[in-house]
């Protein structure tokens, strides 16, 4: 094989690796993670629909919803501890600086970034097909109290968004 051909093939392989690297973290979390159901919190109605995705917010996105809510640096990594309730939903319990070890079975730590007025977990953008975009936005606008998202959370606390459920309607 000529050197130029080898270099070209290496470049193609690099592009393939980059492509596979984009969802690698999420794919790992999907495969190894634990199921968690979160309640969708009110989102600014003017920015629900932003391009190709719906912007979602949760109980755990608002620092005020945590009883211990301490102050963190901007963009600092935090771990939100959530606890499973009788109705199957997971509610915010506390925020920690480090990933807690030996959590009870009904609790999970989700890794997020502190942005002063809200915390982001990498599960805020729900991509949807073009034709369904307005349908989901309208459904979410009308029935927000019953909107749930199913996520997977892996051992390191990383979360991956799986599906959005509003009453009996499922969006993936």
């Amino acid at each position: 094989m000529k050197k130029a051909t080898g270099f070209f093939l290496a470049a193609v392989v690099l592009q393939v690796l980059i492509l596979l690297g984009v969802p690698a973290r999420k794919a790992y979390t999907r495969m190894t993670g634990r199921d968690v159901v979160l309640k969708v919190a009110p989102v600014d109605p003017y920015s629900i629909l932003s391009g190709y995705y719906v912007i979602l917010g949760y109980d755990i996105s608002r620092p005020a919803d945590f009883p211990n809510a301490p102050k963190f640096e901007f963009d600092e990594v935090i771990y939100a501890i959530v606890e499973q309730q009788a109705d199957g939903l997971w509610k915010p319990v506390s925020i920690e600086r480090e990933l807690p070890k030996n959590l009870p079975a009904n609790r999970v730590a989700i890794r997020g970034h502190w942005n002063d007025w809200r915390i982001t977990y990498g599960i805020e953008e729900f991509y949807i097909p073009e034709e369904k975009r307005q349908v989901i936005a309208d459904d979410l606008g009308k029935n927000q109290a019953e909107a749930r998202v199913e996520v997977k959370v892996d051992a390191q606390g990383n979360a991956a968004l799986i599906r959005l459920r509003i009453q009996d309607r499922v969006y993936e």
Partner: protein, 448 residues
């Protein structure tokens, strides 16, 4: 020896060679060696016209768009794994078909177009992958990944179009990351990216990529100035520095006859940036009790020196190039004067920006200085037009002078009669200058 293997040159050479042999200008043996050195026999299967390149590229883009739309139309019914495999197959199909046509079937333009489209598909696939797995993140991350993949492909496939794509995506990535992450190493970004893309342009002998890299450097340095200092004066100073360096690099290529084909377009870009900046800031409004601060929410006050480092280094490179040119034995005196003219004009503009930004109040002297510097740039362009017999430079310089004069009259003079006299004089002067210039060119041609 590094032969120029551009298709246009090889086509012209192939066309002329039989006549040269017939006329006895070159021997049969020499013609054979030239044919082998420039691989002229391999040119036969493909038209070398620009139209063919454009059509192939457009065809590749439509093909890519069509296939992507087909995948998107069936998006919902496809399982995740099938979606991922389809995207990867699409990418591989473009690249491998492109390479095969280019190198094995001797259709370089079509192959080039497909490889370029492959890198566009790569970018679209990054977005689609993120969508499939609901990956959230900063928008510029996708551009960084796109730039990296395209850059390596541009080097590997020796494709200037892919290089241009990599440059645009890399500059976009830098714009995003420098806004969100004020870490110190960000200051190295413009220099590292510029070095990488200049080297690529050099290897590919691509004038377009070389000039575009200078434009990219200007954009990145200005982004850094606006983001980290948040002051118009630094943006102005940075634009002048970038224009000065582009001009100096272009002149250096010409004077040293080092890849001279890079010289004119790069110097022209430099003059354009310098002239454009000087014109914008030639209005008195900028220098009259004006707060130069931009959006102050992003200002990082410490360590400030750090963010100026790339601009300072670029300035030193420009000064170094100018000194080397001035020392050049063959450089004629009139060209030295031009080099000096642009250097002085740049220095005046930078000083005005730095002094003006630090002081409040009406600064008449600075306004006059900026106008004088702008006029100097125009005069240099006219002089280049006369010395090098380049019409475009002459007319650009002349039009710039007229634009400056008319702008000043519109800015200050309210009397219609005075305006009318000024505009009439400008018109007459332009026509007279044009006639004199054309006569000068005719006399030169007659001598030759």
């Amino acid at each position: 020896m590094n032969p120029n293997k551009s298709s246009s040159f090889r086509s012209s050479l192939k066309q002329e060679l039989p006549a040269w042999v017939q006329e006895g200008i070159v021997t049969e043996d020499a013609a054979q060696r030239l044919t082998s050195l420039y691989e002229l026999d391999e040119l036969r299967t493909e038209s070398s016209s620009l139209l063919a390149a454009v059509i192939f590229t457009l065809g590749g883009l439509l093909l890519g768009g069509g296939l992507m739309s087909f995948v998107a139309a069936n998006w919902e019914v496809l399982p995740t794994l099938v979606k991922v495999i389809l995207l990867l197959l699409l990418l591989l199909a473009f690249h491998l078909a492109g390479y095969w046509l280019w190198h094995k079937k001797n259709w370089p333009r079509l192959g080039h177009a497909l490889v370029f489209t492959g890198s566009l598909v790569f970018g679209a696939n990054i977005g689609l992958m993120a969508q499939i797995f609901h990956v959230s993140g900063e928008w510029y991350g996708a551009f960084g990944a796109w730039a990296l993949g395209s850059l390596v492909m541009a080097y590997a496939a020796r494709s200037w179009m892919t290089g241009l794509l990599a440059l645009v995506t890399a500059v976009t990535w830098f714009q995003g990351i420098s806004h969100s992450h004020p870490s110190s190493w960000m200051a190295a970004g413009p220099l590292v990216l510029t070095a990488v893309f200049l080297l690529l342009a050099w290897q590919l002998r691509s004038r377009v990529l070389y000039v575009a890299t200078h434009a990219g450097l200007t954009f990145m340095l200005c982004t850094l100035a606006a983001e980290r200092y948040s002051s118009g004066k630094y943006v102005l100073a940075t634009m002048i520095v970038s224009g000065f360096v582009a001009w100096a690099a272009g002149e250096f290529h010409r004077v040293k006859t080092l890849r001279p084909e890079f010289g004119n377009p790069t110097a022209a870009l430099g003059i354009l940036i310098l002239g454009g900046s000087a014109y914008i800031w030639s209005f008195h409004w900028w220098w009259r009790e004006r707060d130069w601060a931009l959006d102050s929410s992003n200002v990082v006050y410490s360590p400030r020196f750090y963010w100026a480092l790339p601009t300072i280094i670029v300035t030193l490179v420009g000064i170094g190039l100018v000194i080397r040119m001035m020392w050049q034995v063959n450089a004629v005196d009139s060209r030295k004067l031009l080099v000096l003219g642009i250097s002085v004009a740049s220095a005046i503009l930078i000083l005005c920006a730095l002094i003006g930004g630090a002081n409040y109040g009406d600064q008449v002297l600075l306004t006059v200085s900026v106008n004088l510097a702008a006029l100097m740039i125009a005069v240099v362009a006219i002089a280049i037009g006369i010395l090098d017999e380049r019409r475009l430079a002459f007319w650009t310089g002349t039009l710039f002078t007229v634009l400056l004069i008319i702008s000043r009259f519109l800015e200050y003079e309210t009397s219609l009669l005075t305006k009318s006299a000024a505009f009439t004089l400008c018109g007459v002067a332009m026509i007279a200058a044009g006639v004199a210039y054309e006569n000068h060119l005719r006399r030169k041609e007659a001598i030759v």
